[in-house]
Subunit: 232 residues, 2 copies
DNA sequence: GAGTGGTCTAGACCACAAT
DNA sequence: TTGTGGTCTAGACCACTCC
């Protein structure tokens, strides 16, 4: 019965009153001293609860001024999770497979930021044997020389990289594009059909490792994000 | 000189070693007892630092097994921030304006989840007088009856809602669509041009408040996310 | 059993900002 | 000046889980 730590219970109680609208944005929350008395615990315990809420952006704390319910974010008002393709497919209960469509090794272009030589791969990801994502990828052979000998028919490039070159920094970019001829053919779409493009760059210790462009049929794919204070 | 709290310094030291690759995923970090000795502080201070790292997903902690550097996320591997249009425009140093294109009040459809009556708005958002986003929005008049009298030529619907009905829960959905005729006309695009569609639903205390569909020209807009452990 | 993290206490001093 | 949060201490007990 006592499985929930007290600091969580305190934070949860406050969170619930914020989520329910009982405490609206700007409302001043009881002080640590008051909550300490209310819960009959040490101030550190209350402090821990309030710090957590503050770190999650539900409240704003200022010395002397006290703690108030935060206003809902205006700039950058939400976050969307970017999925791993294989997990995404299997999470839908479908069979994941992939097909290597192209593989060449060539000198890197200066603005690719991937060193001197790259391997360029084209991969089609399938869900239950239906085309799901068309991926173009460059891997730096300076950063990951083992990639030249890797068998990307056995393991898709993304999975191979995660196993061999875990990244320390990544950048993602989402945009809408019309399918070019090659992409349209791969995905079985009409030329110019609207698609969601996810571009991803990763680095390891500041050195560029890979660039990938993954193209999802626009009609078949959504990125969804839910946010509420109670789900943290 | 002592402005940085000790627990932050400890967390920062560890974070740096993870980010630099010195401590790779799976590496076992010194125990709290060892760090306590190293920094000559109380265990609570080390514990606070490690809890923070754990909450941010940089390390995984298990009783008896110790603390290890987390593997880079595989499922849901990154987050993209969703911008507020006005902030986005002004953040680019452009002048933000908006134009109300349509406004009607009508009964809500059952599957809209917005109560009995809604106000339906079409708004064009402009950056330096050039079309930037075409927005269709429904506002529940059950949840926000004041919306019926609001002047949406003076303040765009999104801003009005933030001021009058801060949400407690939101869902976002990103997809690619071809511009329909009306959208294409509003944004000055060819019919069927690829666009990024951001759909947003918000609730207050479980009651549906609004639904919005914001359409960005695909070529003109990107959602970008950067992630690295050192930027937490 | 013993090593590890998770939580909690009852204090303390300090930093900051509103008055 | 004083109320408020931010940090820190030196302990303590407990819950896990690996050996």
């Amino acid at each position: 019965m006592d499985q929930e730590p007290l600091h969580r219970r305190i934070a949860g109680d406050i969170e619930r009153r914020i989520a329910s609208g009982e405490w609206r944005p700007g409302f001043r929350i009881p002080t640590e001293a008051e909550l300490t008395a209310e819960y009959g615990c040490a101030r550190m315990t209350v402090s821990r609860a309030m710090s957590d809420l503050s770190a999650r952006g539900l409240v704003v704390r200022r010395r002397r001024a006290g703690t108030v319910v935060a206003h809902p974010p205006v700039h950058s008002s939400a976050l969307v999770a970017i999925p791993d393709i294989q997990s995404e497919v299997e999470g839908r209960g479908l069979a994941y497979t992939h097909r290597l469509l192209g593989r060449i090794v060539r000198p890197a272009l200066p603005d690719e930021g991937l060193g001197e030589r790259v391997i360029e791969l084209e991969t089609l990801h399938l869900a239950d044997d239906l085309p799901f994502v068309f991926e173009r990828r460059l891997i730096s052979l300076d950063a990951a020389p083992e990639a030249e000998a890797a068998d990307f028919t056995a393991q898709p490039p993304g999975g191979w990289l995660l196993a061999h070159m875990p990244w320390t920094e990544a950048e993602h970019r989402i945009s809408a594009v019309g399918a070019d001829r090659e992409t349209a053919a791969g995905l079985g779409l009409a030329d110019g059909a609207p698609c969601l493009r996810l571009e991803r760059r990763t680095w390891r210790d500041g050195q560029g490792v890979t660039w990938a462009s993954q193209i999802f049929p626009g009609a078949a794919y959504d990125l969804v994000a839910r946010f509420s204070p109670t789900k943290g």
